[in-house]
């Protein structure tokens, strides 16, 4: 008998499974549950994009591409970023096409982390940064964000977390799970500190397009920070292409070259069919983005409004497709709330502490769901809250 515990590396054993999966088993057995737990768009990938993928298969384009990704994809990424966000990168040296934003985050962190380097991670946030930093022999350092300023990162919080070992700051805005954003002046306040300590910013902008009522600003839009910022983005959220597994990373050429080296050994090249579809999306998909965003915006207002009417306090989420109401008034912990809501009323959402300890007292609800489902979910949440009062 092999003792697998002695086979599996300590570093891997130390990584906790994602808290997001917690109620997976309960939910799987239910037929009439409403899930506000998914973190992906509910639209189909627009047809013209799917068609471009299909056409590439018909033509037999089924081989590896160059490691960095096809020229056309890199060119269109650069055109897109400059057109939509005023971000300018050289397609030959500053862009790498990856397997989702996920691989891009992994590469960026692996590329810059020496053993013991500290990676600052504002929380609550998407679950991957800490484990990836640990696997890269770094030390994840959470920064506890607070609801009072809509889960923005303040210069005081940043300053307090910095040590001589601080290497990088993950800037995950618009935020999963809070829906919070960082506006230009919020970013500018961080700049002197980041410059003084030479901290690299890893800006995860996967939800950049889903910013409501204003335009997304990247740390790389601030001229002094351009050389110090790695931008991660991808096709998943804005074009509803989660299953295609295509993302990209842009930044200083020196860093992108090293990431390309890792990518070349670990991945070879991003999926070819998806790259063809991406060219079409990036070239001709602006209208799809606008249409989906308008849909989300209506649902966002409806859900926030509905939750507030039910007495849950909830700041206005200005980005992504999540609301993050406080459930402290119920006296339940986030996990108790989610488990009981699921068992008693069959609505699935995700406990805020799955995204970091500072998420305790909140739950994440995704409004990438139909209006009928949102309406029914609100009705059931209302029943659940009433039952708690008795």
């Amino acid at each position: 008998m092999i003792d697998y515990n002695s086979v599996i590396s300590q570093r891997v054993q130390d990584i906790k499974p994602s808290g997001i999966r917690k109620f997976f088993d309960i939910l799987e057995t239910m037929t009439d549950a409403i899930s506000l737990g998914v973190g992906e768009p509910d639209f189909q990938t627009p047809w013209h994009i799917r068609d471009a993928g299909i056409y590439s298969l018909e033509k037999g384009f089924t081989k590896y591409t160059s490691n960095a990704g096809m020229t056309d994809v890199r060119r269109e990424i650069c055109n897109y970023l400059s057109r939509r966000f005023d971000l300018h990168y050289d397609m030959n040296s500053q862009v790498l096409v990856t397997v989702g934003g996920s691989e891009a985050i992994d590469l960026a962190i692996r590329c810059i982390t020496n053993p013991g380097d500290e990676i600052l991670i504002p929380e609550p946030s998407f679950v991957c940064y800490g484990p990836i930093a640990s696997l890269a022999s770094g030390v994840p350092v959470p920064i506890r964000l607070v609801a009072d300023n809509e889960f923005r990162l303040s210069p005081e919080q940043l300053e307090a977390a910095i040590t001589p070992r601080t290497k990088a700051l993950v800037l995950p805005y618009p935020s999963n799970p809070t829906g919070g954003i960082m506006e230009r002046e919020d970013l500018e306040k961080l700049v002197p500190i980041l410059k003084q300590h030479g901290i690299i910013v890893l800006s995860d902008e996967i939800y950049a397009e889903l910013t409501y009522g204003q335009h997304h600003v990247s740390m790389a839009n601030i001229p002094e920070m351009y050389d110090q910022t790695i931008v991660v983005n991808g096709m998943s959220k804005c074009y509803s292409m989660t299953g295609w597994r295509l993302g990209y990373v842009c930044g200083p050429g020196e860093l992108i070259a090293q990431m390309t080296k890792i990518h070349q050994y670990a991945i070879m090249s991003a999926p070819t069919t998806s790259q063809y579809a991406a060219v079409e999306a990036l070239k001709n998909g602006d209208e799809d983005i606008e249409a989906m965003k308008e849909e989300y915006d209506g649902r966002r207002r409806y859900l926030v409004n509905g939750l507030r009417k039910l007495g849950l306090s909830c700041f206005e989420p200005k980005g992504a497709f999540y609301v993050f109401p406080s459930i402290q008034s119920t006296g339940l912990s986030s996990e108790e709330f989610c488990e009981r809501l699921l068992v008693e009323q069959k609505v699935a959402c995700i406990a805020g502490n799955a995204f970091g300890e500072s998420g305790e007292g909140f739950v994440r609800m995704c409004y990438a769901a139909s209006m009928q489902n949102l309406e029914e979910a609100l009705r059931r949440i209302g029943l659940f809250l009433d039952s708690l009062k008795k």
Binding site: F24, G37, V38, E294, G298, N305, A348, M371
Partner: protein, 163 residues
């Protein structure tokens, strides 16, 4: 018409069963404002009606639908409108459009049987003064109408239920 009314129209066009409360939240306004806007859009003839889209194939009710290309000699002064009116007044006519291109008017009609539709064309439509020819195309199968796909495909299996 302002932005908000445009938004309201787009929402209703997609789903007219949205409640005033939902519409109000989605358009960031009050239910009273929604009611006023809907009323005035109706008064102005912008909102013409609300209907259900039904797949009759799934019912026991027999229905045959045909698209008819109609050629017309336009009348002095009235152009095509007068003859179009004589066509669309018939109950059986579901839709009637003036067209550019190879013929003049598209007529979509519904009947219970092929014979019923054929009789309508030969006895009523082609005998109208000014109608010079017709070509009848029966609809065999509906794939999509008003943005709704008739046969919904299955949901993808093994999708992550949480992410």
């Amino acid at each position: 018409m302002d932005q908000r009314s445009n938004k309201l129209l787009k929402l209703l066009e997609k789903d007219c069963t949205l409640t005033p409360a939902q519409l109000a939240a989605m358009c960031d306004t009050t239910e009273e404002d929604i009611a006023l806007r809907v009323q005035s859009l109706k008064d102005e003839g912008v909102i013409l009606g609300y209907k259900a889209l039904i797949n009759w194939e799934k019912t026991a009710i027999e229905a045959v639908e045909a698209l008819i290309e109609v050629k017309i000699t336009p009348q002095r002064d009235k152009g095509f409108d007068r003859i179009a009116e004589r066509i669309y007044q018939y109950e059986e006519v579901e839709s009637c459009y003036l067209m550019s291109g190879g013929y003049d008017v598209t007529v979509i009609i519904t009947g219970r049987t092929l014979r019923e539709v054929a009789l309508f064309v030969s006895e009523k439509l082609s005998t109208i003064d000014g109608v010079t020819s017709t070509a009848t195309h029966f609809i065999l199968k509906k794939y999509k109408q008003q943005n709704v796909v008739f046969e919904q495909r299955e949901e993808q299996r093994e999708r992550l239920i949480f992410s």
